[in-house]
């Protein structure tokens, strides 16, 4: 019985994938582009060389961090859409610490460590704001988070064109890049940092165990599934809700810190690169189960990187990957709905 339904589940997931591909193909055909060639280009763009695959991993790191954080807030029944702003605040805090300490006599590795810590706290602070708005102000976290996202973007622009502007010219290309000594160590010849990779993997593993096997995780789930009853069963509900926000914000903040210390080496206007929203899609797609987050995030990262060369080769916009990702989420949700209807009937 359960074995059967598991196979049926996988069948529905595959059907969702096929339908998503089918619809994206239709869109490509409508736009007059050759679909097969486009898919082939995405594949080669992501996997044709070790270098390219390492680029996929570069994109995987922040996505995995953000998804891990969102799994925690989703478990608590929270739609932490403010995760974009939390990434941004992480990046701002990291940049701030790096700028403050870059001329000090502290060892560079310590400065980097402190800056990542600051990023973590920056993200957590931004999440705590959304959490406080919800717990004490009764503002739904979706509205609070969305508002804070705009504030975070505005802050970035303010710093880039204001106090942190490059000497002489302030530009959209961001703040003055940091000295090479303050870059996170990269694999030679690649853009990938082993540290970033380790942190991201550690994050998802920790979240997995947190949600699967701890009292803390079970209480978070209880709060998410029935706030009132969780309180009656003795769970300090609002405290757990705040903790959940803090954890997600901290992980998003680390993602922002990684973007600054190992990808851009400066603060740029769109530092969060939409990883927050993408992370929301990953979390929904894996049906809030941590174990699937890593492969799905990798798949999304591959789509991102693979589509980079579409504009050059096929004169297609690279947002095609976004179309495919969005389609996938929609169809998986639709198939899930259909599956539930069918299982209710029988």
């Amino acid at each position: 019985m359960t074995k059967n339904s598991r196979w049926a589940n996988i069948g529905f997931q595959i059907a969702a994938l096929v339908l998503a591909l089918l619809f994206t193909t239709l869109i490509l055909l409508a736009a007059g582009a050759p679909p097969l060639e486009a898919y082939q280009n995405i594949l080669t763009g992501a996997f044709s060389s070790f270098k390219k695959f390492s680029d996929v991993l570069v994109s995987w790191v922040p996505l995995l961090l953000v998804s891990a954080g969102l799994l925690v807030t989703f478990a608590t029944g929270l739609w932490n859409i403010g995760v974009e702003g939390q990434i941004t605040l992480g990046a701002i805090a990291t940049t701030w610490v790096l700028r403050e300490l870059q001329d000090s006599s502290l060892p560079p590795s310590l400065i980097i460590f402190l800056s990542i810590l600051a990023g973590m706290m920056g993200g957590a602070l931004w999440a705590a704001l959304a959490g406080a708005l919800k717990t004490f102000g009764g503002v739904n976290e979706i509205f609070g988070g969305l508002g804070l996202n705009f504030v975070a973007t505005a802050l970035t622009i303010y710093f880039i064109f204001g106090p942190w502007k490059r000497p002489g010219v302030a530009s959209m290309s961001g703040t003055e890049p940091f000295d090479e000594a303050l870059h996170l160590y990269l694999f030679p010849g690649l853009r990938l940092s082993p540290w970033a990779l380790v942190i991201a993997i550690l994050a998802i593993v920790l979240v997995y165990f947190l949600l699967q096997g701890t009292y803390f995780g079970l209480r978070l789930k209880a709060v998410g599934k029935n706030f009132r009853a969780a309180y009656m069963l003795g769970v300090p509900t609002w405290q757990y809700m705040m903790l959940s926000f803090l954890i997600c914000g901290a992980l998003a903040g680390i993602a922002g810190a990684m973007q600054v210390t190992s990808v851009y080496y400066r603060l740029i206007p769109s530092i969060s690169s939409g990883y927050g929203y993408l992370g929301l899609m990953v979390a929904m797609l894996v049906n809030y189960q941590a174990i699937w987050a890593a492969p799905i995030a990798l798949f999304f990262a591959a789509l991102n990187i693979g589509s980079i060369q579409l504009p050059i080769v096929l004169k297609l916009d690279s947002s095609l990957s976004g179309v495919l990702q969005g389609m996938l989420v929609l169809f998986v949700l639709i198939m899930e709905g259909i599956r539930q209807r069918i299982s209710q009937r029988s």
Partner: protein, 490 residues
């Protein structure tokens, strides 16, 4: 309309909810369907009304086999269902509700509908104003509206699923009067209940279900109550004598307590409860007993006075502090306030226990769940989610989550919607607590339950509280009068 069910089978997973049920109901009969919680009554009725499909078997209406695929189709065949909670639209006018579900164009004819409504209403002597809003109606009046609506839609078979839950005695009498008029028009009524007395008063014949099977039918009145009970439970059941537990000193002390909620205010309550004692709170819903009970557990914050628990002043503290001092509250809305849908029984036991370290020991949790399931006689496995349990088993699960020892247990409607076997079982468990020195304060709208199980009774009437009554010397009639507002010094 004559209704025939032939060889109905329905499975939910491994649960054989309806097992080969064959039943013939002649036109113009009031058919009772009796059975304890989870016996398969609701499943059978859902099949007949098109909410779910039988896995096997057929339905014949006036001798013709039909296939009913949805509730809308059921009503086209003339089968209408009156739900436990009336399915209406409170923010709308009565007339708009009445017209819902009418086949008709984009622009319904309100005038014509109003005429039809008034005609029907007069026939049954209902006092419903078509232009007033549904939220202003009592449950009983909403049932009247639903009956009129179904009649107007052309229903020839009425299914009523536990219609007497949550309505007053007067409303029940009115409902029964109405129902008794329907068979004259060759309308068939199927009355689903676990309340023997309702079935005895109303029905012409009774079918009894147990564990998914039709175990017997009785067609001659008066029914033999003892025989019906035996059929329902497979054995004889008696309530047993009243029990009084030994006293264990003062547990709860209320001094000049004042409580306020949106509608009313309770002023200067002084009351003491001793360990081992059971206090029943009676009154019409919303007379202040709910706020009172919650104030005893810190869930509602009093606006004046003090609450002392075993001598310790806990006034204004949160429920979690009360909990730490040995108080537990069991809400009536089990799945909304008490249990967490989506989590298994095991997970509930793990949540309720004191955490031992960071990591959960699942195996121990499952063992713990198994032993609780066995000792509380819960029909389910450790992996079952709470929403998949029947109401009686959910209540048992809630009880099994109570910690040990406790000073005070506050219970809202401990046995609402439960069959008599569960009632006896649950009170057995609660009384066990009393013998260990726990005090119990509970709300119930079932007067017999209050008199059977309490030591003292407080009656609430629009924010006033009676002197404590000795349950052993109070009669149901006396209690009923107080609840209705008679005999209060003004």
């Amino acid at each position: 309309m004559k209704v025939e069910l032939r060889g109905i089978h329905k499975y939910f997973g491994n649960n054989h909810a309806n097992n080969d049920i064959t039943l013939t109901i002649p036109s113009g009969t009031i058919q009772g369907i009796l059975g304890e919680n989870g016996a398969g009554k609701s499943t059978l009725m859902k099949i007949l009304s098109g909410f779910i499909h039988a896995d096997q078997g057929e339905i014949l209406l006036d001798g013709k086999p039909v296939s009913i695929s949805s509730p809308a189709e059921a009503i086209r065949f003339g089968i209408g269902m009156l739900h436990q909670d009336p399915l209406d639209f409170p923010p709308m006018r009565i007339l708009d509700n009445f017209m819902l579900g009418l086949p008709g164009g984009l622009f319904p004819n309100r005038k014509e509908a109003a005429q039809d409504f008034n005609l029907l209403k007069k026939e049954f002597g209902f006092a419903l104003d078509p232009e007033s809003y549904v939220d202003s109606l009592t449950v009983g009046e909403r049932q009247q509206l639903e009956i009129l609506r179904l009649l107007f839609l052309g229903a020839r078979v009425f299914i009523l699923d536990e219609p007497t839950t949550g309505i007053s005695a007067a409303q029940k009498a009115k409902l029964f009067d109405t129902l008794k008029k329907l068979p004259e028009q060759a309308i068939t009524i199927i009355f689903v209940s676990h309340k023997l007395e309702d079935v005895e008063v109303l029905c012409d014949q009774v079918a009894v279900l147990r564990q998914g099977k039709l175990v017997g039918e009785v067609k001659e009145k008066p029914f033999d109550t003892k025989k019906l009970v035996e059929m329902m439970f497979g054995k004889e059941i008696t309530l047993g004598a009243r029990q009084v537990a030994e006293r264990h000193g003062c547990v709860l002390e209320l001094n000049n307590l004042s409580i306020e909620d949106a509608r009313l205010r309770l002023n200067d309550v002084n009351f003491e409860v001793e360990g081992g004692e059971v206090i029943g709170l009676a009154g019409l819903e919303g007379s202040g007993q709910g706020a009172f009970l919650r104030a005893c557990g810190g869930i509602v914050r009093p606006v004046g006075g003090s609450v002392r628990l075993r001598g310790r002043d806990l006034t204004g503290k949160s429920y979690h502090i009360y909990k730490r001092n040995g108080v537990e509250f069991l809400p009536a809305a089990r799945l909304e306030e008490g249990l967490i849908p989506g989590l298994s029984l095991t997970e509930h036991f793990i949540l309720a226990e004191k955490s031992k370290g960071v990591f959960i020991n699942r195996e121990r949790g499952v063992r713990e769940a198994q032993s609780k399931i066995a000792s509380f006689n819960i029909k389910g496995t450790p992996a079952h989610t709470v929403e998949s349990l029947s109401g009686g088993n959910q209540q048992r699960a809630l009880l099994s989550l109570l910690r040990d020892p406790l000073s005070l247990v506050l219970v809202e409607h401990p046995t609402r919607g439960l069959d008599i076997e569960s009632v006896i079982y649950i009170w057995g468990k609660l009384k066990e607590r009393c013998r260990k020195g726990t005090a119990i304060v509970f709300i119930s709208s079932d007067l017999e339950e209050i008199l059977q199980y309490s030591d003292r009774v407080l009656v609430f009437f629009s924010g006033k509280i009676s002197q404590p009554l000795d349950a052993s010397t109070t009669s149901v009639e006396q209690l009923g009068e107080l609840i209705g507002g008679k005999g209060w010094a003004s």
